[in-house]
């Protein structure tokens, strides 16, 4: 299984968030940013340096931060609240559910440090459940951008739409593989690679691994593998998912998150109701993360091109190829 890795420009997705906030600060005086003592990690410090009067450090108090953001939204501001995904989507879940989403307030939540690739901080700081906990709340939009370029576009798009949005980004540098002029529309998946034998649906930086696996499968096995970037996990692009389920007849989902309830589950909900086909899931299999370097952890947790390659072959067996 010769996965060919090339030199590629790397950048953490959170940088895209920080850069977008600075742009928003200039273009919209109503944009305000809140952080819970992690502005250097979430990259909101870029906004804080430029627009200190519109930046609020709320201290290590996530629940209060979400409530304060709700109040700012009521007063017509567009608050972006940021901290690690584990803290915001876990500790402040009820505040997000009841205060923000039930009231359908215009609060944007930047969940940093999503995924196992957070690395040495270990399980407590590796958000692996927040796609599940955020997408099950009515009124919430959930976006998992693929790289720093797409994160920037997603952040700008979140500011333009009304209602609560959860944006997920990672800590480690990850490949840049979308282009500045690619169109980004919330709720609209993008075809990264067309194919007819099998489709890989992905959300987040692991899509790059999916592309590597697809290339290797074509070279080794002559397989035609489609790769779809489903950056908006909710509302999910039913049309594109069903179109490719019909076209390919077998699917693999890829996410840096628990398989239970996460992105793969969201895709499965669409497929079983519209066009049932064999599916395999690449993701974290009901276990906590641990300390290590991202490049050690990702393969150890089965979150790499090699695992995707194997899962594609497995699902094709089930398809009857």
């Amino acid at each position: 299984m010769p996965i060919k890795r090339r030199e590629v420009e790397m950048k953490p997705t959170r940088y895209g968030y920080g850069e977008a906030l600075v742009e928003l600060g200039a273009s919209d005086p109503n944009v305000v940013v809140l952080d819970a003592d992690l502005s250097k990690s979430t990259m909101t410090k870029l906004f804080a340096e430029k627009y200190p009067e519109r930046f609020f450090d709320m201290g290590i108090a996530e629940q209060d931060m979400l409530g304060t953001a709700a109040g700012l939204a009521i007063e017509g501001k567009i608050p972006f609240v940021s901290t690690y995904g584990v803290f915001v989507a876990g500790r402040a879940w009820d505040q997000i559910r009841t205060t923000i989403c039930y009231s359908n307030l215009n609060v944007k939540i930047g969940g940093a440090h999503g995924g196992i690739s957070v690395g040495p901080d270990g399980a407590t700081h590796q958000a692996l459940e927040e796609i599940a906990t955020m997408r099950c709340i009515p009124n919430m939009t959930v976006i998992v951008p693929a790289d720093a370029i797409e994160t920037k576009k997603a952040t700008l798009a979140a500011a333009r739409m009304h209602g609560p949005v959860y944006l997920r980004f990672g800590r480690a540098p990850t490949p840049i593989f979308t282009k500045e002029d690619d169109e980004f529309v919330v709720g609209k998946a993008r075809v990264l690679r067309d194919g007819t034998d099998v489709v890989i649906y992905g959300a987040g930086p692991l899509l790059y691994e999916a592309l590597l696996a697809a290339e290797a499968l074509e070279e080794d096995k002559g397989l035609s593998v489609a790769v779809i970037n489903v950056h908006t996990v909710k509302p999910i692009d039913v049309d594109t998912i069903v179109e490719y389920a019909k076209k390919c007849g077998a699917a693999v989902t890829v996410e840096e998150h628990q398989v239970m309830g996460g992105f793969g589950s969201a895709v499965a909900e669409v497929i079983v109701q519209n066009h049932p086909i064999p599916m395999e899931f690449v993701g974290v299999q009901d276990r906590f993360g641990e300390s290590g370097k991202p490049e050690e952890l990702l393969p150890a947790f089965g979150l790499d091109a090699e695992t995707i390659y194997d899962k594609v072959l497995k699902v094709l067996e089930r398809k009857g190829n």
Binding site: G67, T98, T99, Y102
Partner: protein, 279 residues
């Protein structure tokens, strides 16, 4: 029914009594709900909605309005009653409380009623929201004030103390918190369940201005709210000592009336008592 603002103490007493009658009738017709804390807060709600707060019953989202956040969302019967009696909606709607299809949900829902700023009911979350509104108002240089009603049992929620820190840190003198200190929560006396005393000292230690009053004395409530408006550089809390179930003899100081509707007999008895108290 009254020209706002109502300055006259006797009139405000009469309004508070009307709110109490509404609470009893609403919860009786609903067959559930929270009369105890609604009755303890009725005098403060009357003064807030008829004397103190700037609002426009014809335009719930009027830019010049003062904001009210009911952090202890379960006492929404008295909140709905106040909104109705100042003229936001007609009396008939009050009797739909908790019924299927009603805007008057069991806990306040801003998605159903635009008169409500934010949905509450999961305790401990309202003061943070009040702070956020206050921060926004300060950013915009607006003079509107933000009032937040909290329960005493609710102060056991950690988020409240996070919000207390925030309001002081950001010097939100446009925030006025009001604690309905009726000493009771579902499981019994607050001091037995999880003590919060010494309450005034705690708020003071967190750099708030503290005003302690009898929460059933209309003049004290008026004076405290006026004073709070003039305190600059820090937020103010009015700790209002109250009686849970106030105004209905058999509901007073009984934890059991926290979240229970009166039977027909109890309803009639309560209404008779409240009628007799009408000034």
């Amino acid at each position: 029914m009254f020209e706002r603002p109502v300055e006259d103490t006797a009139k405000l007493k009469k309004i508070a009594n009307q709110l109490r009658k509404d609470v009893v009738k609403m919860t009786y017709l609903a067959g559930s709900g929270h009369p105890g804390g609604s009755l303890s807060a009725a005098d403060m709600m009357a003064v807030l909605f008829f004397y103190k707060m700037k609002l426009d019953p014809k335009n719930p989202k009027w830019e010049g309005r003062d904001y009210f956040i009911l952090s202890k969302g379960h006492i929404c019967p008295v909140y709905y009653s106040a909104l109705c009696r100042v003229g936001f909606f007609p009396e008939d709607e009050l009797w739909t409380l908790r019924k299927f299809g009603s805007r008057l949900q069991g806990h306040p829902a801003s998605s159903k009623m635009q008169e409500i700023e934010v949905s509450t009911g999961s305790l401990g979350q309202g003061l943070s929201v009040a702070n956020g509104i206050a921060l926004g108002l300060k950013l915009d240089g607006k003079p509107n004030r933000v009032y937040c009603m909290l329960g005493d049992g609710e102060l056991q929620e950690g988020q409240v103390w996070e919000a207390i820190m925030t309001a002081a840190h950001y010097k939100l003198d446009n925030v006025c918190a009001i604690v309905d200190y009726n000493n009771l929560q579902i499981d019994g006396f607050v001091e037995d369940v999880m003590g919060i005393a010494p309450l005034a000292d705690k708020w003071r230690a967190f750099n708030w201005e503290v005003i302690e009053i009898d929460g059933h004395d209309i003049d004290q409530i008026k004076k405290a709210l006026d004073e709070a408006e003039n305190i600059k550089g820090k937020p103010t809390v009015i700790i209002a000592h109250t009686v849970k179930g106030k105004g209905v003899s058999f509901m007073e100081n009984e934890a059991g009336w926290h979240g229970k509707a009166p039977s027909k007999e109890e309803y009639e008895k309560a209404m008779a008592e409240l009628e007799a108290q009408d000034v």
